[in-house]
Symmetry: C2
Subunit: 241 residues, 2 copies
């Protein structure tokens, strides 16, 4: 599921570099990038490789190239904000509280609805996949094991909706969970604290109770958010002292 593909190729490196510069705010919307020749030179690649990177950034809505003018950075509203790379670039530096709140809101919109939908239409295989992920969470020994299994659980729920459009929103959920993990630095002792929430979701989907599943998922997210607020408070206190 992970995709470090882009990092391998040269144009992938270039894309990453430029993408981070733009999303990170080093070049602002409205500005135009240096011309391709000089940009290629400063990045130590050929114009060909640079152009392929620019094309992909253009597909992500970050820039727009026009003949005789150059590559202009587009307004944020044009950006493909749900793109996995764009999300990753936004989280590259420490994400702002504001952005984290928006990720939480997305989870609140997507996941309870997905849980309800999954409870309605899941197949036996899809339920088994969720169950497998749940057991992996239960048996996790390390934080890493838990993280992998947790992602697998939420992915399995999205898959169980049978709606590929909802499934494509996994990149958002993935980013959100990943961010929360780094921000709310769990200890080895309490990282399993949300297991009961997951069990409730699993059981509701097993019993095909959409509204129960929705509520259970809502509760899980609310709890996660509370946990986040708590460590946010700790962080502020630390910074202030």
């Amino acid at each position: 599921m992970r995709k470090p593909i882009a990092v391998r190729s040269l144009y992938g490196h270039v894309m990453h570099e430029l993408g981070q510069r733009i999303v990170g705010g080093k070049v602002k919307p409205g500005e135009v990038l240096p011309r391709e020749e000089t940009l290629a030179e400063s990045l130590q690649v050929s114009r060909t490789a640079l152009r392929e990177a620019l094309k992909v950034l253009s597909a992500k809505g970050l820039i727009e190239s026009r003949t005789g003018v150059g590559a202009r950075v587009l307004e944020k509203r044009c950006w493909n904000q749900l793109d996995a790379d764009v999300l990753a670039w936004r989280c590259a530096s420490m994400p702002t509280d504001d952005f984290v709140d928006k990720l939480v809101e997305m989870r609140e919109v997507i996941e309870p609805a997905a849980a309800a939908s999954a409870a309605r239409r899941r197949t036996a295989e899809q339920l088994a996949a969720i169950d497998t992920a749940y057991r992996a969470m239960d048996e996790a020994q390390t934080l890493d094991d838990w993280t992998v299994a947790d992602l697998q659980f939420h992915d399995a729920v999205l898959q169980a909706t049978g709606n590929e459009l909802l499934q494509s929103l996994f990149s958002v959920v993935e980013t959100a969970l990943g961010t929360f993990f780094t921000l709310s630095a769990r200890t080895a002792a309490n990282f399993k604290y949300s297991l009961p929430h997951h069990q409730k979701v699993l059981e509701a989907i097993r019993r095909k109770q959409p509204e129960v599943a929705r509520k259970a998922m809502q509760a899980m997210i609310a709890d996660s958010q509370a946990n986040l607020q708590q460590s946010r408070g700790r962080r502020r206190k630390k910074a202030g002292s």
Copy 2:
């Protein structure tokens, strides 16, 4: 807002052509495309232009190029289903009932939540934008005017959430509305039938009543879906007779 940019350039044409072939099912997941040289020849373009198109398709998750192997079409689950182009390509041929149902489900997930969020956090300017769109709908004389204003209304609601991640889902809403318009071929007489629904949403957002806004939006979508089922029935009857 519309983006016929890609159609202008050569590589845009190539991307469109190949994208439609893949999404349309002419080449199936797992298959590998012809090698770049022959593909470029058959499409009457240089390898340069072809490669830029392939890179963009790769960024949309449709294909994966590997040295020595070729460009393999990826599984549907890898596709960037929320990408505006991918959505458009899926609707290029008459969309299946199945796909339309999934679009409806997406609207049910996104728009009521967005309406509620907008009611909570809208600014005066954002409310004004929604109001403007509503008036344009009210004063629309032709079906075209209505369509434009309707899209503007739903976009304004998403904008009013202040969450750019939600805003990026407009491509889904846009595709859904566009599809419904073509499928449920309205007459000049009744194309304004959903105006009262829109008014309720507008008023709830004006009064900052999240749950009222959510319910109103839900009702609007349910009504739209009923309308769709109706014309779906007519279409079947016609095809069966």
